[in-house]
């Protein structure tokens, strides 16, 4: 129970919650949850918890089951018993052996691919200048 002290909000193991929740600090889910969770702090889905939810937070730690997309501005920690069925977007992620994922991952990649074409056009310029000088 002492571990729960760092979490301002705890959804107990016998709770069955449907709806949208938003927190400013940390939250821990031990029971069943359906809907969406938004937090500026840490969200922990504990072992045995079952979330059918979209989770957006700074830090997300998963030991239970999440069915839905998750988005972390900082990091996602997937522990050995963690299961995520859905897309994951995060700046950083750690995943332990034994955890499972089924979904698209975008970890630490912005997905912007325009820099290469910019450099290649820059490389072309001196050649064009040389050709003009020869003429």
């Amino acid at each position: 129970m002492a571990e729960n002290n760092e979490f301002g909000t705890v959804i107990g193991a016998d709770a069955n919650f449907k709806g949208d929740l938003s927190f400013d600090s940390a939250a821990k889910v031990l029971g069943k949850f359906e809907g969406s969770i938004t937090s500026k702090g840490k969200v922990q889905v504990a072992d045995g918890a079952d979330c059918k939810a979209t989770v957006k937070a700074k830090e997300i730690s998963v030991e239970g089951h999440i069915e839905g997309n998750i988005e972390a501005t900082d990091r996602v920690e997937l522990r050995p018993k963690g299961i995520i069925t859905g897309d994951i977007t995060a700046a950083r992620m750690t995943m332990a052996d034994g955890a499972s994922i089924d979904g698209h991952c975008r970890i630490g990649v912005n997905g912007q691919s325009g820099s290469r074409s910019a450099t290649s056009s820059a490389e072309v310029k001196p050649q064009q200048q040389q050709a003009a000088a020869k003429k």
Partner: protein
């Protein structure tokens, strides 16, 4: 004191047809007894840039920090250890381990298990755990 002998043979699974067969521990390549196609058994280590169509082996694929594989897909039996860059789909019966400076970008990553170190970058569909379907007419 008699020393316990290590098993002289190992079981491999053909990455082309899924058939299981036994080979010597020293085997580097062989012919699959079911599909009769040549298969690579040895471990592969990539230390530099390697552009290929398919990187296939029944062994393990290791990509060092300076290694970079650009391929359609990587198929291997004993898993992938990556400290560098992979731009390819990964299909393995083993475990995939991505180091802190690893980058994986591909259509799909399918493996028995996946370990991601803090700092690794991923972009693509991940299906873990994944098990290759058993071949229909497996040789007995």
């Amino acid at each position: 004191m008699a020393k316990a002998k290590a098993p002289a043979r190992r079981t491999i699974r053909c990455y082309l047809c899924g058939n299981r067969s036994e080979v010597s521990l020293r085997t580097m390549s062989t012919t699959c007894p079911k599909c009769n196609r040549a298969i690579k058994v040895e471990d592969v280590t990539v230390k530099t840039y390697l552009p290929v169509n398919d990187l296939q082996t029944c062994g393990k694929v290791t990509i060092t920090a300076k290694g970079r594989v650009v391929a359609k897909r990587i198929q291997c039996g004993d898993g992938v250890v990556c400290e560098g860059t992979i731009e390819a789909a990964i299909e393995t019966d083993g475990d995939v381990s991505l180091g802190p400076k690893a980058l994986w970008k591909g259509q799909v990553l399918q493996s028995r298990s996946l370990q991601i170190a803090d700092g690794a970058k991923l972009l693509g569909l991940v299906t873990v755990p994944w098990h290759r379907p058993e071949s229909n007419g497996e040789k007995k």
